[in-house]
Amino acid sequence: MPEPLLKVQGLKTYFFLERGVVKAVDGVDFEMKKGEILGLVGETGCGKSVTALSILRLVQSPPGKIVEGKVIFEGEDLLKKSNEEMRKIRGTKISMIFQDPHTSLDPVFTIGYQIAEPIALHQVIEQHLMRAEEVPGKVMEMLKLVRIPDPEHRVVEYPHQFSGGMKQRAMIAMMISCNPSLLIADEPTTAVDVTIQAQILDLMRDLRQKLGTSVLLITHNLGVVAEMCDRLAVMYAGNIVEQADLKTLFEDPKHPYTSALLAAVPKVGTKKMELETIPGMVPSLITPPPGCKFHPRCPHAMDICRKEFPQMIEIDKGRLVRCHLYGGGSKK
C-alpha cells in the first residue's frame, strides 16, 4: 500500500474559552490517498471545519490550540514544522477554499491582484519557477481555467462587482494557482445557489482530473458527497465515527448516526412522506456525555455506551466504525 498523501492521527484541537474548554476536535484519525476525493460529513458544529483548519494550522489562536496529534503530509508532520515552513506549504502544497465567497475575498483589492499574490510570492519569489512578467499571463490562464467570462475585464474588478458563483470560482483559481497536491474545500457550495453549485462541483471534478489534486471535501450535504466523493468519513462531536467508500456507506451504513443521517436525506422516488429526523441535540463540546458521545440520541444505546468511549474498529477492508454494536468493545 503506497504512502498516503495525508495521514491525520489522534488530532485534538481545543478552544480555551472563559466558559470552559471546547473540545472541537477530540481525536480525529483518517488517511487520504493521492488524487482521491474524501468527503468529511457531519452536522454543523461537529468539528469538520476545525479539522480542516487544524491541518493548515490556521486555527485562530488564542483561543484555539492544537493540543496533540499528528498531521503527516507527504511523510512529514506538519504540526512539527516551523511557522515559516508551514507558511510555504500553504497555498502551494495544501490550499483551502472557504465556505462564504462573499466574505472570503478582500474587498479592497482587485480579483486579479488577489489571484496574483500567491503566484508572485510562491512561484516567483520563493521557488523561482517563473519570472515576474509572466504572472499576469498566469492569472489570465487561471481565470480561464475556472471559466470566468471575459477575464481581460474581470481581472481588474473588485469582489463586490462579482456574483457569488464568480467569487467562488475566483477563490478556486486563487487556491489552485500553484497547483497544490491537496485542496481542502470547506462547504464550497453552501453559500451559492443550486445552479451555481452544480457548475462549481463540475469545475472541481475536472480540475481534479486535469491537475490530479486530491480534495478533502467538507460538507453536511450528502447530495454533494454522493456526486463527488470516492470515500467518506462521518464525523460526530469531534470524532470520526465511520469511514468507508461512498457506495458501501450509502448502501449499508454501520454506525447508527450514519444511518440516521442518511435517513434524514430525502430520497428521490421513495414514497415516504415525512422525513426522519435525528432525535435530541448535538451534544455540548465542553462537557460531552460520558462513554459514546452519541448514546443520548442513539436508538440502540446499551449500558456500555454510557460508560466506555468506543474505539475505532476495522470491520472490513477500509471500513472503519466507532461503535460498541460491532463487538470488540474497547481494548483492554
Binding site: F109, T110, G112, Y113, A116, P136, V155, V156
Partner: protein, 571 residues
C-alpha cells in the same frame, strides 16, 4: 493591477508634510525683536494691550505710554509737576482766562514729513472735542480753536478752567498730524505725531514696535538729550501669561517689565537677582479706589437750570438704578433716602481694614490712601486721614440706622456686586473686601469682567460698586467725584445739591491759587463726609528693569509722559 497597500495614508502624509514645509517657509519671517546686533532696542513687556492707540479713542494707561512716545503735547510737566514748554515755546492766558494763545516752535515736523503748525493744533483740539471723542468731556470748556498765524494758535474758552489748562500738559492732549491723522478708509488715527518714536507696527495683543524718529530735536528740557533718542527702537510685547513673561525678563530677553502685579515670590526674585534693578514708583498721582454707584443727576442738572455752570457736552442722563435705590444720595431726594445711602456708605468705609487690603492685594507695596487725592498732590488735605478708622461696631450701628440691622457673617443684610477687571490686585481687593464686609453682614459678589463690559455697565448705571484706579497729575480728579463727565470708569452718578458746595466747587476753579487751594481741601472733606467713594491705596508701580538699562529715571507721572530720550542700553 492595484498594488496600493496603505498608500493613501502615505500620499496624504507626504502632501501635508510638503504643505507644512512650504507653509513654514512662507510664514516664518522673523518678527522678533532686535535682529541686527548694533541696533539698541528697549524691549518692554506688559500683560495687557491698549484698546486703541488713537489719543481721542482711548483712556487706557497702556495706550498713553505709547502715545507719549509717538506724539507730543504743547506743554508738559517737569519732575516737580510744573508746566514746561514742549511743542509750544511759550503761551499766555487772555484776560481772566477767556482764551489761551500758544506760540509754537518753528522747527517741528510730523513723522510723515508734514510741517507742524497752528493748523495741526486746531485740528487736534477740534478732533478732541468731536462728539465721538473720549476727550469731549475734558475739553467741554473749549469753545473753539483758531489759527492766528502760522505758528500761533488761540484756544477760546467758555470760561476759565484750570484743569483744562492742565490738560494741555497731559498726554491725552497730544497733537496728531492733520494730513494722515485719519485713515480715510476707517477713520482711525494712523498714530502719526511729532514724538521721538514712530509706531512702526501695532499688532494688537501681540506687540507694538516703535522706531526712532531721527528728525526729533525738540525734546523737553527735563532730558539731557533733547533728541533724537539714543534708542534705535522700542518694542512693547504683550504676554498675559506671566509664567512666560517673567521667564523672558529674567533670562534677559526683556529689558523692562511694566504693569505687573506684585507677588511675594516675584518680589523676592527681583530683589535678589543681581542683573535686575527694580524700583517701586509711587507717582504722586496714582491711586486705586472703589467707587459707589451713588445716584443719578438731579432734575435741575438734567434741565441745565441748576447754576450758570455749563452743561458739559456728551453729558449722559442716566436712569435711577432701581436695583439699589438705597445707594442714591441727592440733595433733592427725601432726607430719609439720602440718609440711608450715606449711612451705608459710611458703614462700609468703617468696615474696611485697609492694612489687610494693602497686604493681600498689594503685597504691602504702596501706601494706604484716605481721601480722593494722593498725599503728594497740590491741595491734599491730611485731615481726611482719620475720618474712617477700622471700626466694625460703628459700621454695624450705621447699618442698623440705615435699616439693615443685625448684620453678621451668618446673617447677610445687604447684597452688593463689585465690578473689576481681571487685573490681579483689583480682583484681590474685591475678594478681600468680600471677606471683610462679611463681618458686618454685607454680602459682596465680585464679578470679574472685561474692561469694556465694565465701561458699558457703568454707562448704563447698572453697577453697585466698581474697582478703579487713576493716574492723574492734579486735584482735577475732584471733578470726577462731583459728577461723572470726567474720565470713566466713574465711581459716581452724583451732583452736589446745595449752594454752599456749589460755591466751593466754583472756588476750586478760582484764578487765585490760595482760594483754589482752600476750596480743594474743603472739597476733599466734603467728599469724604459724603463717603461717595472708598479710597484704598496710593497705587505702586512695579517697574523692574535689567541693570544694563541706563538713563531711565522715573517721572512722577510714571511712564505716561515718558519719552525715553535719555534711556540707553549698555552693551
Amino acid at each position: 493591477m492595484d498594488q496600493r497597500g496603505i498608500t493613501p495614508l502615505i500620499t496624504v502624509a507626504i502632501i501635508v508634510v510638503v504643505a507644512i514645509a512650504v507653509g513654514y517657509v512662507l510664514i516664518s519671517r522673523g518678527g522678533g525683536p532686535s535682529e541686527n546686533e548694533n541696533a539698541m532696542v528697549l524691549r518692554m513687556i506688559q500683560s495687557a494691550d491698549a484698546n486703541s492707540l488713537d489719543v481721542d479713542r482711548t483712556k487706557m494707561d497702556q495706550a498713553m505710554q505709547v502715545i507719549a512716545l509717538s506724539q507730543d503735547t504743547l506743554m508738559t510737566f517737569d519732575l516737580n509737576m510744573n508746566y514746561i514748554p514742549l511743542l509750544a515755546e511759550s503761551w499766555e492766558i487772555g484776560e481772566n482766562g477767556a482764551y489761551i494763545d500758544f506760540h509754537l516752535r518753528h522747527d517741528v515736523k510730523f513723522q510723515c514729513g508734514e510741517p507742524f503748525d497752528a493748523n495741526a493744533v486746531v485740528y487736534s483740539i477740534r478732533r478732541a472735542g468731536a462728539p465721538w471723542s473720549a476727550q469731549s468731556d475734558t475739553v467741554r470748556n473749549i469753545l473753539d480753536a483758531e489759527v492766528l498765524d502760522e505758528y500761533t494758535a488761540r484756544i477760546h474758552l467758555r470760561q476759565w478752567d484750570r484743569w483744562l489748562y492742565d490738560w494741555f500738559a497731559q498726554t491725552s492732549s497730544s497733537i496728531v498730524c492733520p494730513v494722515c491723522g485719519e485713515d480715510p478708509a476707517y477713520g482711525v488715527s494712523k498714530f502719526c505725531g511729532t514724538g521721538p518714536f514712530k509706531v512702526k507696527e501695532w499688532v494688537r495683543d501681540t506687540r507694538t514696535t516703535l522706531v526712532r524718529n531721527d528728525d526729533y530735536k525738540w525734546g523737553p528740557e527735563i532730558y539731557q538729550n533733547r533728541g533724537p533718542a539714543h534708542l534705535s527702537g522700542i518694542t512693547i510685547e504683550i504676554d498675559a501669561n506671566n509664567l512666560t513673561a517673567e521667564e523672558k525678563f529674567f533670562r534677559g530677553d526683556i529689558d523692562l517689565m511694566i504693569g505687573i502685579s506684585p507677588r511675594p515670590a516675584l518680589i523676592e526674585r527681583l530683589t535678589t537677582d543681581p542683573n535686575v534693578v527694580h524700583t517701586f514708583i509711587y507717582p504722586r498721582s496714582s491711586m486705586a479706589w472703589i467707587g459707589f454707584n451713588v445716584s443719578t443727576l438731579s432734575p435741575e442738572i438734567q434741565q441745565g437750570l441748576k447754576s450758570d455752570r455749563p452743561i458739559p457736552s456728551g453729558h449722559r442722563v442716566s436712569p435711577v438704578n432701581d436695583n439699589s435705590p438705597w445707594l442714591q444720595v441727592d440733595g433733592k431726594m427725601t432726607p430719609d433716602n439720602a440718609n440711608r445711602g450715606l449711612l451705608v456708605r459710611r458703614a462700609l468705609l468703617y468696615a474696611t481694614n485697609r492694612e489687610e487690603l494693602l497686604l493681600l492685594a498689594w503685597e504691602n507695596l504702596g501706601k494706604i490712601a484716605y481721601g480722593p487725592l494722593t498725599s503728594l498732590m497740590w491741595g491734599y488735605d491730611p485731615s481726611v486721614e482719620d475720618m474712617y478708622p477700622y471700626d466694625l461696631e460703628m459700621a454695624k450701628n450705621l447699618l442698623a440706622q440705615a435699616g439693615y440691622p443685625g448684620g453678621s457673617p451668618t446673617n447677610f443684610v445687604l447684597h452688593l456686586t463689585l465690578l473689576t477687571t481681571n487685573y490681579e490686585p483689583y480682583v484681590k481687593e474685591g475678594e478681600t473686601l468680600k471677606q471683610q464686609w462679611k463681618q458686618v453682614g454685607v454680602d459682596l459678589e465680585v464679578s470679574v469682567r472685561a474692561f469694556d463690559d465694565i465701561e458699558s455697565i457703568i454707562a448704563k448705571c447698572e453697577h453697585d460698586l466698581v474697582v478703579g484706579g487713576y493716574t492723574w497729575p492734579n486735584a482735577d480728579m475732584l471733578w470726577w467725584y462731583w459728577h461723572t463727565i470726567r474720565v470713566p470708569p466713574s465711581p459716581n452718578r452724583y451732583w452736589w445739591g446745595n449752594a454752599y458746595t456749589d460755591e466751593v466747587i466754583d472756588n476750586t476753579f478760582s484764578y487765585s491759587d490760595t482760594v483754589a487751594f482752600k476750596a480743594i481741601q474743603e472739597c476733599q472733606r466734603l467728599i469724604m463726609e459724603d463717603a461717595c467713594y472708598l479710597p484704598i491705596v496710593e497705587r505702586p508701580f512695579l517697574m523692574p528693569m535689567r541693570v544694563d538699562v541706563k538713563g531711565l529715571s522715573v517721572h512722577p507721572m510714571s511712564n505716561f509722559i515718558w519719552k525715553h530720550l535719555d534711556t540707553y542700553i549698555e552693551k
